[in-house]
Symmetry: C2
Subunit: 406 residues, 2 copies
């Protein structure tokens, strides 16, 4: 048998190969509307509703570090990132299963903390945790969550419905989670250095004042799925033409929406909702905050497109920003930067990890859904902004997103 | 925070504590009929049908060893053990998600083999694989499968419906999977010893003739979920009064059924369907084949109870054995051995791993569902048969299972 490294063929090719293998099984479920390739699989229910299903695997040292992640937060985040996938279909989450692989340095109290976090946010989202599996693990902690939701067939939102002329919107703010991760990773190193220098130190006495970074750290450790936005859409009868949750960064997700919808897009850097807290951290790390927003990931905001006719319906939802416009596929996927230069986002990396020179499999840094959707977003692409193709000299530099200003 | 080892409180107490934590979330799903505590969670669908959901986490070195497990078999088994949980509810499996955590020594071809196995048996079971998550893992291979099925409300079968007087039945044969595991574990050691003695050996040239053990090895590596039995039940209109799949061994599963149904049971050792192949292997290891059947596990047969009135309906299903009778709770859970002695199965270990003296968390050997259901069954209890309470001197030694002979 030949031995092909995943990095040799790339993430999308791997997913395509796996999808080919399981395609013959998909045809056995006549009610299956969508298998691999979106935030959720979609199955018809008898009453005209659709069931949506998503699953995420969180693995220690790949998706989280126990030195910097309180267990209660970890349990909460495991639920939230799954609820976020349900939200991305414009659906209502109903129930989840939570499986845990436990390494032998985990106590009963620690397991309880994970479940307390999961149960706390499950209550907030109105979902039930209905079961799971608990197993030993010889290595690290593993959490696997599967979530099931429901939506009227008339309201389901795929990645594939965006049309030229649609407005591109994003909830909340972006890039902040990655800024928080940067701070946590630095703190982790400081902690390890301190312990190494003081081998006799009582580790429980270690303290650090991270209060100035609190907003960013909180966003990273305790992201909230935007179920409020989905509720709003349902209340005002707004069905986005396409939607995806921001687990990889706005730039990466925009490319997914465009590829799935066979359209192009132009977003404007100045419209990206990036908080000053995020900019301050990126400045501190001598990074570009825009890159955190585009490719940092784990914000779990919703990136979606709406018909311009629905613009008024959106106006009473305050926590949303229109950042650009859908264009024909021939226009490519671009961002107009602060200098009026159109940057080709498709030539920038940030999502197709396995094809990058650096082997991210050895870099604590690569998790990818079957849908080509990364949930790890650790450090992997914030340094790639320099590779962007500043192709410049575009002559259109008028405001492209209609009248609404953020 | 105090640090309580799982072994200090035991598996059931841990599950109870986790169940208490998530109970407040369960009440949020008004359609939830059953959360933690059976082979599947059960949710009402709009058309009067019930949805059943189960999930299993398979972790390298806990549930499988890549030295002795072909990847194609591993993918197949991951699906089969989940389908088996759906069968245990008397339900029809519909679709599954398959998530994989990949260590960096795994090639594209190896991942494809896992999926080929999963897809192959998914086709046999008539289910669709609708999605999943693929992630890096810094240590070992992790497979998480969640499966969804459906059943008419009138046909759902829980662990809790057995009544005194019911007949206790098991499909196929039992103990064989554990016999296969014993052979594989011995072979694994031989292999490791050979490699250690011949460090320059080309490992791919290693061969072993295990053909005489083929039936047992096949049962262990490629168990088949008994979807045929469920189809038969539906065809003849037979609804078992209780059912569970044999992942832990007939003795352990019988105790689950009795605890959940609040009944007692008496099974007869001579009626246990144990093949000569299984006995030959247990003899070779100087073990007792009956113990393999009672506590070895991973047979993935169905253990169920039926009303004596349904006896005739069962008669045209050939691959089933009546092994005993349900009694009042006060009678305990016992097996009448070949000498006519009633052995108390409840005092034997084999399922409550964490309370055993030996810390199985350090023994490659403990995986347990929220439902108190073990899926690892590696070596853990086959040596415990001697602890059985041979309380002897029972005066009832007539045939307890009615007229049908196996």
């Amino acid at each position: 048998m030949s031995f092909t490294r995943i990095s040799e063929i790339g993430e999308f090719a791997l997913i395509d190969r796996l999808a080919t293998l399981i395609a013959p099984t998909e045809s056995q479920l006549s009610t299956l509307k969508k298998g691999i390739g979106d935030d959720c699989a979609v199955i018809e229910l008898p009453n005209g509703k659709l069931q949506v299903v998503s699953t995420d695997l969180l693995i220690e040292q790949i998706h989280f570090d126990l030195l910097t992640t309180p267990l209660e937060h970890l349990g909460a985040k495991a639920i939230s990132v799954n609820v976020s996938d349900i939200c991305a279909m414009n659906a209502k989450p109903l129930y989840a299963t939570v499986s845990i692989g436990l390494s032998n340095n985990i106590s009963v109290e620690m397991i309880e903390q994970i479940y307390e976090g999961a149960a706390r946010v499950a209550k907030q989202y109105g979902i039930a945790i209905v079961g799971g599996d608990t197993s030993a693990s010889i290595t690290g902690l593993v959490i696997s969550v599967t979530i099931v939701g429901e939506v009227d067939a008339s309201k389901i939102t795929y990645r594939s419905g965006a049309k030229a002329g649609d407005l591109i919107c994003v909830t909340g703010d972006v890039g902040r989670s990655f800024a928080g991760l940067k701070v946590l990773m630095r703190e982790r190193q400081t902690m390890l250095d301190t312990f190494a220098e003081n081998p006799d130190m009582d580790k429980s006495t270690y303290t650090a004042d991270l209060s100035e970074y609190q907003k960013a750290i909180e966003k990273h450790l305790l992201p909230k799925a935007r179920i409020d936005a989905v509720k709003f859409f349902h209340e005002v009868g707004l069905v986005p033409t396409s939607m995806i949750d921001v687990s990889d960064g706005v730039g990466s997700e925009l490319k997914h929406l465009c590829r799935n919808s066979q359209v192009g897009a132009l977003i404007e850097e100045s419209k990206l909702p990036i908080l000053s807290e995020t900019r301050e951290i990126s400045d501190e790390f001598e990074d570009d905050g825009t890159t955190y927003a585009l490719f940092g990931g784990e914000d779990y905001e919703l990136l979606f497109t709406i018909s311009p006719n629905d613009f008024d319906k959106l106006s009473s939802f305050k926590d949303v920003h229109i950042i650009g416009k859908v264009l024909d596929a021939s226009s490519g996927v671009k961002m107009r930067d602060l200098f009026g230069t159109d940057i080709d986002l498709q030539s920038a990396s940030g999502f197709q990890h396995f094809t990058e020179e650096e082997d991210l499999f050895e870099d604590d840094d690569d998790a990818h859904d079957h849908d080509g959707h990364d949930h790890s977003a650790h450090n992997h692409s914030a340094h790639n902004h320099n590779e962007h193709n500043h192709n410049g000299h575009d002559d259109e530099d008028e405001d492209i997103w209609g009248e609404r200003k953020n």
